[in-house]
Symmetry: D2
Subunit: 314 residues, 4 copies
């Protein structure tokens, strides 16, 4: 009556909390490298196909990455009147860029990823993810430090998408989730229609305070801030996102109206996003809103986020 | 850079697919029994508190059961003009009953669970879940076979809630997820306002076909059928539900209107459900709707569902 | 081609090193308690039957405990001309005592275990292990502190058997593996024929230095010290033992002679011990002897052993 | 008090029984390939260094392979008066060959391994294992089928070493563990002094019957058969070996005499083997001898062994 017929010998343990693991069975190793920045695996899994794993943390898999990437990109894009210049921080798989390029209005997308080895390996091994987006002439790919790009950029961005890896202790990205960093992002926005969207951590009850603190932090910088989530299955937790702008965003859009916009302004090909999905996403579960309403802490360079990885949540 | 500081020695592996496990660290065993029907654990976990586990399958935990139980109960209740008689199939923890009794209109709730040992243990060890609902005078608790209750019931139910364990191979519940069973349920509904709601399996991309088939099956029996989901974290997958009725249900409710209804017609105490949450739930991700639109199979007694457990998905 | 059909849902992870785990599938929980001293499980496993687990560390299982207990007890007993008084430190399962009572010459066995709850549970749930040894009139069972017994004992013991749990960090037993403690043991030996034997840690290459340091430590106290091991399967490592005495022990015994002694002086019933097994045990692999020859550290109260558990090996 | 600080994210689960796993934490992937015969990993582990893994089964690791390979090779070699021609079946790592070449008398060693990709990868990535043995002019390396070599060989071998992977169901090697195969081996032995030695499965109590059946099977073919074992830590079980010959082997050798032979007839460099180790090995635990004495089954082509892997033990 007990047990199960497992399909794998080699397993990747994603440590979610000290008491929760999502364990992925691997069927093939496609690429492995210790880069100057992190340990990279590109693997094949039995249930979700090929996947990218960095420092033991599941980044995305072919079988369900669309849930994450479409949620990350399109609510911001569709809420902007005419997104031309898009800045992508992180996003090594090329899937965020792929979604951005669905929009006809986009004239320039700059993607900044610190790890050229990862980008190169994704390009080679994960064509299902980038789908040629690395070759789009509108793309400016910068292998380098996001800080530098932000410091040297002019106020030109319609959309800034923060697709960074989680701010785990001693990881390279935790400073990029602070008030100081969000203020710098604000300075390089083109105008008040511009929108920032960030991947904003797990929203499981055990971890939703992290998301709430990111919300709080953005709220100290932007006039209008919105939390939403997507059911990212292979992360072992639903995932939070936050939209921030100086202009309000309509959280009760008319689905048919949205579908019409998508038809006119994109080349289509969405796997889960449409008007109904957007309406659903922007109307979030009460427990997330309650946590945001009661959480008081904000993240600063002096008090940055520390997600569970090797350390503990803060 | 790798690994993590784990908090437990004893781990419960929930086998989601042959290549995916959600593994829960246990910090205490509160009760254990091999009942005539199943193997029961009531445990304490580090991240989500006390939990009920049957035949190795995670049923619910104190820390996140509200996400499942509020989603299971309230969309049906709020969509009915005046729910008086409620039939609950399964629901051993008493949490479904707890949610039903939030509604002032409820005159009778009959809960049918096959396993008296489990109900007794939940009553004793999980007061956080039932919160006294077992002592409500409106409750008729039947320890027995759901089939028998259904066969002998008159057409009296305003709401029927199927809170059964998953239809795993050789499990006791798989027949209760078939066309023939849904037809019997229809016969004991009070009138065309009556609503059936079922827990309808995982909606992760790897498993969403199971949900789609349940939808298809209900569609052969009821005029109006609606799929929705909740981000049930500790199941290792978001979870699907299906509403079925002979009367249409409004999937674009006005959140403020819903909140007003909740204030008038319930005693409150919701942890995540409200008007906004309902609007979000009823507007589902596109990939679920697409799977439902293309899936053609239905479940019958001759071709019942077989979820992954010890066997394989069908 | 990959994977396996597993038999359990609940698993006990024994952490051997930060990179090695032996994971035991549990089929039943027989008893569970947080005692004042430790967390106790008595479980049933599929491959090795019932087992005792303390603080997440596998103590012994019905299916292979004879390998450990016969190796712990009989080399000392058979090497002593006439063992009458035997002191057992630890040994909660009653299996060490069971083996001691095979010897006709034994007049008194005092067993000292700090945790009465564990002893009581073993008595109730593990009759296969103690086999009634708790009821032998020659047994003096002391629930209390080994230190106190040692301090208050006169020089009366022919054999002292240290069957303590591993000296993990912040565990209760680590002081009992130090030079100072071994000196106290020496003081309560009856005469120069007396023998001390200790369970002396894993002898896998990754951990054999711990065994070597225990050997070194005993060598500073006793004239004659001997290392040996047994292939304790469910520990995830072969296990080391050390004999110490003021009189030499013959490591090349004649097997037939030993078998004759066993026949005369014991009631029999051995499952693995005999003359050939003793000859094999006392002639150990070279890598253990080489590690002992080169290891220089000793354990004292100021520098006690710290085995991997929650901490790190020292 | 519970849990541990783990060092790895990616884990290899070695399924020992349906209820027992040895789980190895991987710190690096050095090579990965799906060869025509099997899935190969060469990995780095935290506790035992580099390791070879085939079809999810741990083959050997730099940190403890000497325990296996010295036990496999030297009892046979030292028991033969003058081993010149040695046939090695399997042994892809080159470590068995390495040990054979310690003996001055060896004129020819033929190693037959079916998987050239594995041999090539070991040659490149595991120099610690082969230590140049692939380049020894006495080596004849045959990438091919052991059956063919056996069928076409003349009666020339002083020593035949069967270092094959376990006979798991549908694996390539199970026929090579049968009576018919052992009869063929006998036919290609040089003379009555010749010795066959095989790796003969785990000797943990849960699996020792497999070893006993192999012993029985060899006993139907050879006049003199001897079981022994080595404490192979990372296999999650001590490992059995069997010597078979038409001439008796001395199981009570004089250790000092053996050490003298080793000094004269080998180039040294042993990490665990010597006279004392040999005396210990040849005098085995009683439970193994008892199982051999009572087990009646033998393995034939019609009734071959099936070790636990994906299937079940037989």
């Amino acid at each position: 009556m007990a047990g199960a017929h497992l399909g794998a010998d080699v397993w990747l343990s994603e440590y979610i909390t000290p008491y929760d693991m999502y364990v992925h069975g691997l069927t093939k190793i496609l690429a492995y490298k210790k880069t100057p920045y992190q340990e990279m695996y590109i693997v094949e899994t039995g249930a979700y196909g090929k996947a990218l794993v960095l420092d033991g943390k599941w980044q995305s898999s072919v079988g369900d990455e669309f849930i994450y990437h479409e949620a990350l990109v399109h609510p911001a894009m569709v809420s902007h009147p005419n997104p031309e210049n898009v800045l992508i921080l992180g996003g090594g798989e090329g899937a965020t860029t792929r979604e951005v390029f669905r929009w006809h209005s986009v004239k320039k997308a700059m993607m900044v990823d610190i790890d050229g080895d990862v980008v190169e390996a994704c390009r080679q091994y994960l064509p299902e993810m980038h789908q040629g987006s690395f070759d789009d002439p509108r793309l400016q790919l910068v292998i380098g430090d996001a800080f530098e790009v932000i410091d040297n950029s002019s106020a030109e961005w319609d959309i800034i998408i923060s697709d960074l890896s989680d701010p785990i202790e001693e990881g390279p990205s935790f400073q990029l989730f602070t008030k100081e960093y969000f203020e710098r992002l604000k300075r390089i926005l083109r105008n008040d229609n511009s929108i920032v969207v960030i991947q904003a951590g797990p929203v499981s009850p055990a971890d939703v305070h992290l998301h709430a603190r990111l919300f709080n932090t953005l709220k100290t910088v932007f006039s209008h801030v919105y939390s939403y989530f997507a059911p990212t299955c292979t992360y072992g937790s639903p995932w939070g996102f936050i939209l921030a702008s100086q202009t309000p965003i309509n959280t009760r859009p008319d689905p048919e109206q949205i579908d019409k916009i998508l038809q006119e302004k994109t080349k289509g090909g969405f796997r889960t996003f449409d008007g109904i999905a957007l309406l659903g996403m922007l109307n979030t579960p009460g427990y997330i809103r309650k946590k945001i309403a009661t959480e008081t802490q904000i993240y600063t360079l002096d008090n940055p986020p520390v997600f569970f990885g090797q350390g503990v949540n803060k």
